[in-house]
Amino acid sequence: MVPLTHYLVLSGILFAIGTAGVFLRRNLITVLLSIEIMLNAVNLTFVAVGRQIGTVDGQIITFFVMTVAAAEAAVGLALVIALFRHRETLSPDAFTSLKW
């Protein structure tokens, strides 16, 4: 059986990759994908820990997270499309009008 530590390390690596993606990529769609990776890293942790302590709670929470993620992806992509129509670009640096 794969020990818990490995799952957690994998999860940490995935989370770091996602975070780096959010900060470094210049494409909003990629940023959204990176957020999905971060969410899945967390899901992995929940499932792994749930299995370790022998309950199904981790899996239930994962289902919730997946549902929310699906909804978030739908809304997020719709926003991205709207923004693209507006500015003809997907770089997050182009959308800075929400300031003083």
Partner: protein, 692 residues
């Protein structure tokens, strides 16, 4: 409860005219107002009847508990005693005549103005009746303030005219100064005696020894009350509003001067006779202020040319007499003069109104003359009034003025008289005779001077009715030939008042010439203390100890053989003074009309000083009005308001603005910055949890 009806009737008249008057024809609105007053007079007469009986009991009627607050229990109560009996009869009686006169005098106003006028007039009378009937200081104060309000409304009746609305404001502000004193005096009385009921205060004051040495609390309280009286009764230094009050319609002047308002101060002192008697120093101040005011106003009246202004200064002067009487402790004599003065002063004001009416609003006596043959009724009634005020026996003014002069010489049990007071009073009597007959001769005798100047209302004469757009007289009476006598609604009150001016004094014929001075004996109980047990609910007639005892001793002295001779001598002298005054006036303004101008020219500076009323208005303007204006504009407006208040409000705004200026730099608008700060925040929070 009949007592309540007396002020209530005019008040209902006021409500009716104020609410519906605009839509009513003049006959209804004026008629209702007159009816209310006449009814009030009849009720007054009815409730007064027992007072003239053998065993007069003061009547008290508690309407409701007005101020129930701890120690201070003030019922809204009306009390009728001898003093207020006399006052309500004067106020409603003379007031009714003035109302009736006004029906004729104001008939050219529009319906709504007419109703407004009568509603104010009724309200005025109503407040005055509350003032004289009130059984405690606060109730009196309601009336006190009410007449102040009504005088403001009525003096400024022609409010579209700048000078009239200014005069109204002046009256109100000057009165306010006095009211301030009255209020402070009232509070001091409550703090000292713990009650505000007149009887209660009198009983509490009687228990103390008179403050013969130094300034005690009673002296201070009475001085403050006297300050209030100087405001209402136009005495130095607060007399300045009264001559300006001539801007109002003439019947209003008559009402203010004769029946209401200015008598309030004298009445208030009479009402608190016991209290004032315990402050000899205050009495001296009152006597001196009174006699100085009388002399000063008399000299000013000598040179004024506006017919109503002469009468106004005459009122100030006569009020000075009343205060002189109060100041020497001769309360009954002061009230007696108040009562006779009401007749002849109302008569003369209404007479001058008839003259002004006939001459299309002309008030300058230099453009009158020779009116005797055009206005016979006015002339003869006016002449009676002038004889009465000059003090020719046996008209009303003679007895009352003489009583005051006699008392100012010999004093009473409460206050000292002195030869100086008597002398100044007599000089004033001489002046009174002179200026009154100057007025008579200039107005009614000699050559007519009004035709030559073409009616006078186009000469830009500043304070004439003529300048008023609301004044109907100009249009209809302007140029159609000779002046004509006033309608009966105006002449009948004149005749009644003339009769009054002749006979009113007969109730006070002094003992020295075989009379019994009934008024003094009638009023006596009102100036004494009722025994404390009865003072609260059932004021009895039993007067207590000290004053009666002392009064008897004193009257024994003053009515002794010597006193009688003194009084007779003084009477002869004052009759002589009156006749000399009339003769002087006749010499200058009847026989040799140029002589007066010559004297005026040769006296130069003095004439100018008198003509400009001792420059008192100018002095007040320079000493009080201008500094206040400068303070308000320079310090309060530009300094405090614009600088401090606006500055602090604007300062708060600017501070917040400046802070947010730097804070909003954080809002870059870059999504990634937000994401990074969010991330860092979460890491820090989690880190904190993990580390601890």
């Amino acid at each position: 409860m009949l007592l309540l009806l007396i002020p209530l009737l005019p008040f209902l008249g006021f409500l009716a005219n104020a609410a519906f008057g605009r839509r009513l024809p003049k006959s209804v609105s004026g008629g209702a107002a007159c009816l209310a007053m006449v009814a009030a007079f009849l009720v007054s007469a009815l409730v007064s009847l027992p007072m003239f009986g053998h065993d007069p009991h003061p009547v008290e009627s508690v309407i409701f508990t007005w101020l129930p607050s701890g120690d201070l229990q003030v019922p809204f109560a009306l009390r009728l005693d001898q003093l207020s009996t006399l006052m309500i009869l004067v106020v409603t009686g003379i007031g009714s005549l003035i109302h009736i006169y006004s029906v004729g005098y104001m008939h050219e106003e529009t319906d709504s103005e007419y109703a407004r006028y009568f509603s104010y007039l009724n309200l005025f009378a109503s407040f005055m009746l509350v003032l004289v009937l009130g059984s405690s200081f606060p109730v009196m104060f309601v009336g006190w303030e009410g007449v102040g309000l009504c005088s403001y409304l009525l003096i400024g009746f022609y409010y579209t005219k700048q000078s009239a609305s200014d005069a109204g404001k002046k009256a109100f502000v000057v009165n306010r100064v006095g009211d301030f004193g009255f209020l402070l005096g009232m509070l001091l009385v409550f703090a000292t005696f713990g009650t505000l009921d007149f009887q209660g205060v009198a009983a509490a004051a009687a228990a103390r020894a008179p403050e013969t040495a130094g300034m005690g609390v009673i002296t201070i309280a009475t001085l403050l009350l006297f300050l209030g009286a100087t405001g209402k009764s136009a005495q130095l230094p607060l007399h300045i509003w009264l001559p300006d009050a001539m801007e109002g319609p003439t019947p209003v002047s008559a009402l203010i001067h004769a029946a209401t308002m200015v008598t309030a101060g004298v009445y208030m002192i009479g009402r608190n006779a016991v209290l004032f008697s315990h402050a000899p120093m205050t009495l001296e101040v009152i006597a001196v202020v009174g006699v100085v005011t009388a002399l000063m106003a008399g000299t000013i009246g000598l040179v004024q040319n506006d017919i109503k202004r002469v009468l106004a200064y005459s009122t100030v002067s006569q009020l000075g007499y009343m205060f002189l009487a109060m100041g020497v402790g001769a309360y009954a004599a002061g009230i007696f003069h108040l009562y006779t003065h009401a007749f002849f002063k109302a008569l003369m004001f209404l007479g001058s109104g008839a003259v002004i009416h006939a001459l299309a609003g002309e008030q300058d006596m230099q453009r009158m003359g020779g009116l005797k043959k055009y206005l016979p009724v006015t002339y003869w009634t006016f002449l009676i009034g002038a004889l009465a005020i000059a003090g020719v026996p046996p008209l009303a003014g003679f007895f009352s003025k003489d009583e005051i002069l006699f008392r100012s010489m010999v004093g009473t049990e409460h206050g000292h008289g002195s030869v100086i007071l008597w002398l100044v009073g007599s000089i004033t009597a001489l002046l009174t005779a002179i200026y009154m007959f100057r007025l008579v001769f200039l107005t009614f005798h000699g050559q007519p001077r009004f035709a030559a100047s073409g009616g006078g209302h186009d000469t830009g004469h500043g304070h004439g009715h003529a300048a008023s757009p609301g004044q109907g007289h100009d249009q209809s009476h302007g140029h159609h030939g000779a002046p004509h006598e006033a309608p009966p609604s105006m002449t009948i009150p004149l005749i009644i008042l003339a009769i009054g001016s002749v006979v009113a004094g007969l109730i006070g014929v002094p003992q020295a010439i075989g009379g019994s001075n009934r008024i003094e004996h009638f009023l006596e109980p009102a100036f004494e203390v009722h025994s404390p047990a009865e003072a609260g609910t059932q004021p009895g007639t039993e007067a207590t100890s000290v004053f009666v005892a002392r009064g008897e001793v004193q009257s024994g002295v003053t009515h002794g053989e010597d006193a009688v001779r003194t009084e007779q001598t003084l009477m002869g002298l004052s009759t002589l003074v009156a006749l000399v005054g009339i003769a002087i006036a006749g010499f200058f303004w009847f026989r040799r009309p140029d002589g007066a101008d010559g004297v005026a020219r040769s006296s130069g500076g003095l004439y100018k000083l008198l003509y400009n009323k001792y420059y008192i208005d100018e002095i007040y303007d320079a000493l009080i009005v201008q500094p206040i204006k400068r303070l308000s504009e320079g310090a309060l407006w530009k300094g405090v308001d614009a600088g401090l208040i606006d500055g602090s409000v604007n300062g708060v705004g600017a501070t917040v603005r400046g802070l947010s200026q730097s804070l909003r730099q954080l809002q870059t608008g870059s999504v990634r910055t937000y994401a990074a700060s969010l991330f860092l925040g979460v890491v820090m929070i989690l880190g904190w949890y993990l580390w601890t």
